[in-house]
Symmetry: C2
Subunit: 196 residues, 2 copies
DNA sequence: TATAAAAACGATCATACGTTCGTATCCTGG
DNA sequence: CCAGGATACGAACGTATGATCGTTTTTATA
């Protein structure tokens, strides 16, 4: 027995990534073995290496992919909006929606940073910093226009991001709270905290 | 060679816990080996078992200890305060201070929950729930007295906790922001978000 | 349709892991 | 001051890990 009928590199790699997101999200990167991952995609452990470089590479690939998508998406979501208040509202709605839809990626992207080797981590941290800058910019421009009253912009940005990102650990899309309600609650919390 | 001169069970166990907090905080529970831990306290790997039951037991011990202390401390911090607004301020100040002083424990206590086996995890989750209830109670009583206007108490409590806990990932006690400023900024953010 | 590349298998490598054990030495309570 | 428990060593256990290899079969290109 060797190459399986109907096998295709693209599909297998996609399956590996998907299974990787699932497993790492559930158990953590270090706790997931390549044997478990291989079993999840019905492959022998060694065969994974037809598609990934190393285990570390897979992790970086997953996180990097997520960060790039996140940045593209936030820029798309803010595109064309000029008013800082409207921008902040759009940012909140985008951030929550994205974090609901990509719980796994977001969670891995923050909790597994330390499993990245220093070189890879550096790249991801830089991308994350860029994302944080988007919020800082909004707060800054809102403060400059005297729409917001903010004591310390970076600290406030961190606080807001932490609050919005927190939903990843508890929000259940099938639970009591629907998405719109979730966004409304958080929008109100943030805006009141920030408005003049 | 065998038992080392000057060795004492109490001191060794304390050193193991301390090193455990450090290592797990830095690298994550799964990534820390008992050999690394033993080396950190200048012991042979097998000797750890004079002081701990298993690796899993050590983790539970660290987290459980932290949660019990957290609960005792929050109750002490709120003791005697009646006004919900004052309670909320006290809660914020306490939570931030505690989380600054015990970054490692707090971080491990949330990020390594999944490394606990189900039985242990259940106990910790129950303790955490109790802590969350403290904040929910404050919000509830403040809302009942028409001091606060809150759309959804559990969601708001989660949001506030996430925001306050977020500092663990970035706050540096030796950095630009001193503790009082940090507390002021967060107090203002939360209160504005919650007040009527 | 011939042929190279792609993708899988199954076996295997060296290493690292958590844990146990027998033994030696030290500390402490009676 | 001595007996016995406490504490450490060092070697070892079985298992799991990430990764490599040669081989075989399928797919896709030209």
């Amino acid at each position: 027995m060797s190459r399986t009928a109907g096998s295709s590199g693209k599909k297998t790699l996609a399956a590996i990534r998907e299974a990787g997101l699932d497993l790492i999200h559930e158990r953590g990167f270090e706790a997931v073995s390549l044997r478990q991952l291989a079993a999840r995609v019905s492959l022998q452990p060694g065969s994974l290496y037809n598609h990934i470089e190393t285990k570390q590479d897979l992790l970086f690939d997953l996180i990097h992919n997520h960060m790039v998508t996140l940045l593209q998406s936030v820029d798309a979501a803010l595109d064309g909006i000029e008013d800082p208040l409207a921008q902040l509202e759009a940012f909140i709605a985008f951030h929550l929606t994205y974090h609901i839809e990509r719980k796994r990626e977001v969670f891995i992207g923050s909790s597994e940073l330390r499993s990245l080797d220093p070189k890879n981590r550096k790249k991801i941290v830089a991308l994350r910093r860029t994302y944080e800058e988007r919020l800082c910019d909004i707060l800054e421009r809102g403060a400059a226009k005297r729409l917001f009253k903010i004591d310390d912009i970076p600290v406030s940005a961190y606080a807001i991001l932490a609050m919005l990102t927190g939903i990843c650990t508890w929000y259940d899309a099938k639970g009591r709270i629907d998405r719109k309600t979730l966004i409304d609650i958080h929008t109100r919390l943030v805006l009141q905290g920030v408005l003049k």
